[in-house]
């Protein structure tokens, strides 16, 4: 009786500790072994390697751009789901719901601002991340395909942002999408059909709003999430972030380890002495590819717990702080409700498509489809065209001066076109000075 009571008491006393221990398999680690175990026994931490190279942690190397893009995506998901509670994808109601967010919904303004600015920030960060990967030569084998996935992610980011642009159903949204989809309509053969399927009608209207809504809140985020998962997984499998040649682990090495024991101790029995058979171990082909860690392991790498984790949490903090700051300072634009008969003059696409719109003003086909198509194809094929092995893992490596110059030119031209389209184009797309 007393024993029973005692054990229940004990269970109750130990309950919090037992529950905690069942959730977190390791106490806060104090040894290297513990740090390793913490990394690989936690679902969220095991996405990361146990040890990470110092190079990958250097802020001046990655600038955390990929991570910032991911955190912006997380912020977008959270704020987006919250906004869905009040939004109605109907031409009759959408704009009123925007006004309600401003006037009657608690924290409605800040949530909408965060969602809008994080979206713009994500487009910018994904592009800058692509620039970082190029200028550090990080798309070289074995990372070719991860570059391709990255280019797809950039496209998905643009599409997500573009589809979201229509949802407020104000003049800015309506005409930006009208212009944007008419650019798509210039594509040969499939252009008209593509535009029709995208809009669900001949013009931007209720069908387009519903289609963009479904794409924006379900289809694109889902596809984006899958691509992000594969992107992250391949970073691990391709041997972490790209490192300079000297520090990089040798690739495609077959490890052959032979451990030959000292001749075993003489086992003496009453009649005979037998030497224990020498044991021989061979590890062959178990670990192939760039996963093999040999050489200066200790100097080049540090434990992910806490080094990587702290760095990531700090970047998350900075991202949240940045988005919050911008959202408090600037309100997301909301213009007059849609008036189909009166487009604003000039009617402009979202800023990331203004380079495209500027090109379209010279030639509808070449500016809108030809040149961007070739650019996209070259971006996708880049790691298969540029097979040089030099200059991996360093910013602006001298060996890659040609490739870097070409890419820099591509970046400057596109940014210039966007700047011209944004600031230097007025009514009737005439050249105006913003000063």
């Amino acid at each position: 009786m007393s024993k029973e009571k005692n054990s229940i008491g004990k269970s109750l006393m130990g309950l919090p500790a037992n529950v905690a221990r069942s959730i977190f398999r390791n106490p806060l680690p104090s040894s290297d072994r513990g740090r390793a175990a913490t990394s690989f026994t936690n679902f969220f931490l095991h996405i990361q390697p146990v040890r990470v190279s110092r190079q990958a942690l250097r802020p001046s190397y990655t600038m955390g751009l990929g991570l910032i893009s991911f955190f912006l995506f997380v912020i977008l998901t959270v704020t987006g789901v919250l906004l869905m509670f009040y939004y109605v994808p109907s031409t009759a109601q959408a704009y009123d719901r925007m006004l309600d967010l401003r006037s009657s919904v608690a924290f409605g303004i800040i949530l909408r601002n965060m969602h809008r600015w994080a979206a713009h920030g994500m487009v910018a960060c994904v592009f800058l991340h692509m620039c970082r990967v190029f200028f550090t030569g990080s798309y070289k084998p074995p990372r070719e395909f991860n570059w391709v996935i990255g280019v797809c992610l950039f496209g998905l980011t643009l599409l997500s942002s573009f589809t979201g642009y229509l949802l407020p159903w104000d003049q800015l949204a309506f005409w930006a999408i009208t212009v944007g989809t008419s650019i798509a309509g210039y594509a040969p053969l499939v252009g008209k059909a593509m535009k029709f399927i995208l809009l669900g009608d001949a013009t931007v209207g209720q069908e387009a709003l519903l289609r963009f809504y479904v794409l924006h809140v379900v289809v694109l985020p889902l596809v984006l999430t899958i691509f992000v998962a594969v992107h992250f997984w391949r970073i691990r499998k391709d041997g972490g972030l790209a490192k300079p040649e000297a520090e990089a682990a040798p690739k495609r090495v077959q490890v052959q380890v032979q451990i030959q024991d000292e001749p075993g101790p003489m086992v003496t029995t009453a009649t005979v002495a037998v030497a224990a058979p020498p044991r021989r171990f061979t590890i062959q082909g178990l670990v192939r590819g760039p996963l093999v860690k040999v050489g200066k392991l200790e100097e080049d790498t540090v434990f992910s717990w806490p080094n990587l984790l702290v760095a990531e949490l700090f970047v998350l903090l900075l991202t949240i702080a940045g988005v919050m700051l911008v959202s408090i300072l600037f309100n997301a634009p909301l213009e007059q409700p849609v008036n189909v008969m009166h487009p604003p003059n000039p009617a402009k696409a979202p800023w990331y498509f203004l380079g495209l719109q500027e090109q379209v003003s010279y030639s509808a086909f070449w500016g809108g489809i030809g040149v961007p198509g070739i650019e996209l194809l070259l971006l996708l094929l880049l790691p298969y065209i540029d097979r040089g092995k030099e200059g991996v893992g360093r910013w602006f490596a001298r060996e890659r001066v040609l490739a870097n110059s070409i890419f820099l030119l591509f970046v400057i031209v596109n940014i210039s076109l966007i700047v011209i389209g944004t600031f230097f184009r007025g009514a009737n797309w005439q050249f105006v000075s913003p000063f």
């Binding site: 009208t178 669900g200 009166h342 487009p343 000039p346 009617a347 003003s361 797309w429």
Partner: protein, 160 residues
């Protein structure tokens, strides 16, 4: 030698069945994927639209006297009649979709200043191409019907 042959033969039926199942699954799933994609394509491609119909009647030919140019703004089309020939010219500006208005020299866009001649060819402004001409038919009931889904060559008239 013979022993190996017998062994292979003995194990063959099992491998055969497994390979057949693998083949069946592969082909079946790939086929489903292809059919599913096609079905999805046809599903999301609307067969009816909820906006304005693109094919509509605009009245009897007598309502459009010879030499008239009558713009029907809600339908975004201008009916032109010369003698006993009629045609339907789009009044949607090819620039950004504003509604152009008939003018003395043809059509003029109020939004961005695009100008078109009487046949809809661009004569000035930012418009990238000419106004579309739509196919017209005379229905059995004697009414004119415009089909905005089928664009025809500039200068193609319907005789009435």
């Amino acid at each position: 030698m013979e022993a190996t042959a017998t062994e292979t033969k003995l194990s063959e039926p099992q491998v055969g069945r497994r390979r057949f199942l693998a083949w069946l699954s592969g082909v079946g799933i790939a086929g489903s994927a292809v059919l599913g994609s096609l079905a999805t394509f046809f599903f999301i491609r609307p067969r009816t639209t909820y906006g304005q119909p693109n094919r509509f009647k605009i009245g009897r030919p007598e309502e459009f006297p010879p030499g008239s140019r009558i713009a029907i703004d809600p339908k975004r089309v201008c009916i032109v009649r010369e003698g006993n020939k009629v045609a339907a010219i789009s009044t949607t500006c090819t620039h950004l979709g504003c509604i152009v208005a008939p003018s003395a020299t043809g059509f003029q866009c109020p939004c961005h200043g695009s100008r078109f001649d009487v046949d809809g060819n661009v004569t000035g402004g930012p418009a990238p191409k000419a106004l579309a001409w739509y196919a017209m038919t005379l229905t059995p009931s004697g009414e004119l019907e415009v089909d905005k889904d089928s664009e025809i060559e500039t200068g193609t008239y319907l005789s009435v």
